[in-house]
Amino acid sequence: MTSEIFQLVLMTVVTAATPLILAAIGELVTERAGVLNLGVEGMMIMGAALAFAGAYLTGSTTLGAICGMLAGVAMAALFGLLTIGFAINQVAAGLALTIFGTGLSGLLGAGFVGLKRDRPGHVHIPGLSDLPYVGQLFFGEDIFVYIAFGLVAGAAWFLSRSRTGLALRATGDNHQSAHALGLPVRRTRFLAALFGGACAGLAGAYLTLAYTPFWSPGMTAGRGWIALALVVFASWKPWRVVLGALLFGGATMLQLHAQAASIGLPGQLLSAVPYLATIVALVLLSSGARKNATAPAALGQAFIAPR
């Protein structure tokens, strides 16, 4: 019996980690192309608002998720126009995107506050899902979890094994050389940014469709920023994103359970744990990473074609 509870706890950890995995894997691909999109929080919250609106109006979780992804893509396209088209400083543009997304999502979602939907059902594979101890954990999650893991596997293969992935990494490491080789630097970066937007939108969609099945303004609560930190934590390597996200999901769940059990620590301190953990993770990994410089070399630099 206790092992069944253990499995349920692990499943909540996976649930908390999934939006982080989704947003972080998209940002990872974007950053490998040399684009630092600090607007993840803004894209994610737009995805959350529009996914809920779409799902509520159509009654379909799938269509809702697609709305969320499109919202993320639209925001990323705006970011691409600013930073890749107009060569605007990426940090400033990312902040603008987050401020804009926070406001616009509140405006668009205003009519949906307080409404509720049912969570999507979990996958059920006869036999496998009923296995004791691990069946639910591995074969009975909701569909988004499998999409998240599929995206990580796909991104890992794409970046390290495909020709296009190699071109993308070249763009992120040295855009002048990539340009000299005839690679379409700006197009590659724009598409990478759009992929990041779709993932962030899907991450937001997960929050309103499966995690808390309702919409409230500001509900991403810094998850977009934590996803950005996870990319650094993962040293820009896809599978490490999963590890990092599960650790964060674990920390989040631990503090929730600690609050529920009222162990005497102030609730605010426990709520601060994910943010403090992010800082600690950044510090630990940054000091290690400096030795073998894993960040894409041209990260955050605007490319202006020489003539």
Binding site: L38, G42, L78, L82, G85, F86, A87, I88, N89, V91, A92, A93, L95, A96, L97, T98, I99, F100, G101, T102, G103, L104, S105, G106, L107, A110, P184, R186, R187, P217, G222, W225, L228, A229, V232, P266, Q268, L269, S271, A272, Y275, L276, T278, I279, L282, V283, S286, S287, A289, R290, I304, A305, R307
Partner: protein, 362 residues
């Protein structure tokens, strides 16, 4: 379609001054379209947001009071951003300044501490504590960057959430007014611990003068001192700065201390001036709005004075719009985001000749 950028060889002053104005006009246009799409009258919205607050005495004072923290924070941020360092946690540093300075206001509440030497020292000490609180909080991401190479962008932002939660805990716990019917707020500070008002019965407090002075000093330091040159050089030509023997680690700590200190000052000015006590929410996002102010003011303290008034206008207009147009505060936030984007595009247009190349791929 392809956008081609050609660097401009000589920049004109007219372009530099005109760019923010064009950006503001563009943002207002986009905002108007959004409001029209929401089924409200853009003309009425323009009047409520940008005209009405300028017509009455009290709202003009309110404008200056709201612009005050924005100026203080943005002047500090301009030092950081000029040096190409990204402190985006001014909101947290604002809170720390308010908390540390406000703590003295709470301690000296019952006047027992004032008996022997009088209370004249309380307000200046509160302001100093505000500066120290903000500066120390800003030095955390700066030190983590200098010592361990951690991204100052993410750490400074994470500390905002921590500061908000910390303030929440304080006003519900140790700082709570014991006679406050369990409301999450501190005692109201004594008059001696409040910033004096500039005229009897008015809203304008001494913090406004302080902001003006800080902007003038900031402009002088940035334009006319060796330190200001060092800051600008580090941002525009980091290699040259290193060859010149400037210590970029020291510079990082300095600009973070300055911007954090000023954000902390803004925090205690708000707490000791406008609010008069500590509450769970002492800032309607000033620390983030100040980022827009800094860019709209083109990272120059004098420009920031004007830009802060514009953004303060969106706050006051936003409050009025809630009542008259039933548009909630998210409209203000979305507009601020659009404004920042327009400002950044206009900034590119001053540095490059922008050519739209239709039909070309890539």
């Amino acid at each position: 379609m392809r956008i081609d950028l050609e660097p401009r060889l000589n920049r004109s002053l007219a372009l530099d001054l005109g760019a923010p104005i064009v950006a503001l006009a563009g943002a207002i246009l986009i905002g108007g379209i959004v409001i029209w799409l929401l089924g409200k009258s853009p003309a009425l919205a323009f009047q409520v947001y940008f005209i009405n607050p300028l017509l009455e005495g009290w709202s003009l004072q309110e404008l200056a009071v709201k612009a005050c923290p924005l100026v203080l924070i943005a002047v500090g941020l301009s030092f950081c951003y000029r040096a190409n360092l990204w402190n985006i946690g001014a909101e947290g540093q604002f809170i720390l300044g308010g908390v540390l300075g406000g703590w003295l206001g709470i301690l000296t509440h019952d006047e027992a501490y004032q008996g022997v030497i009088g209370g004249w020292w309380i307000l200046p000490t509160m302001l100093a504590l505000g500066v120290i609180g903000g500066a120390i909080y800003a030095l955390i991401p700066a030190l983590l960057r200098v010592w361990l190479g951690a991204s100052e962008i993410l750490t400074s932002l994470m500390l905002v959430y921590v500061a908000e939660l910390g303030l929440d805990w304080l006003v519900r716990g140790p700082f709570k007014d014991p006679d406050g019917f369990n409301f999450p707020q501190s005692v109201v500070f004594d008059d001696i611990a409040r910033l004096p008002f500039l005229a009897e019965g008015e809203r304008l407090h001494a913090g406004v003068l302080l902001a003006l002075i800080v902007a003038l000093i900031g402009a002088f330091v940035l334009a006319r001192t060796l330190f200001g040159f060092e800051v600008r050089l580090a941002g525009e030509a980091p290699r040259a700065a290193r060859f010149a023997g400037f210590d970029d680690r020291k510079l990082t700590l300095m600009v973070f201390a300055i911007s954090g200190g000023l954000a902390g000052l803004a925090g205690i000015v708000e707490v000791a001036g406008q609010i008069g006590q500590l509450t769970p929410k002492i800032s309607p996002g000033y620390g983030f709005t100040a980022i827009i102010v800094a860019f709209l003011g083109r990272l120059s303290p004098i420009g920031i004075l004007v830009a802060a008034l514009v953004l303060a206008l969106t706050y006051i207009g936003g409050e009025a719009a809630q009542v008259e147009l039933s548009l909630n505060s998210d409209m203000t936030r979305a507009f601020q985001g659009v404004l920042l984007m327009c400002v950044l595009i206009a900034d590119t247009a001053t540095r490059y000749r922008v050519r739209l190349n239709f039909g070309a791929a890539r």
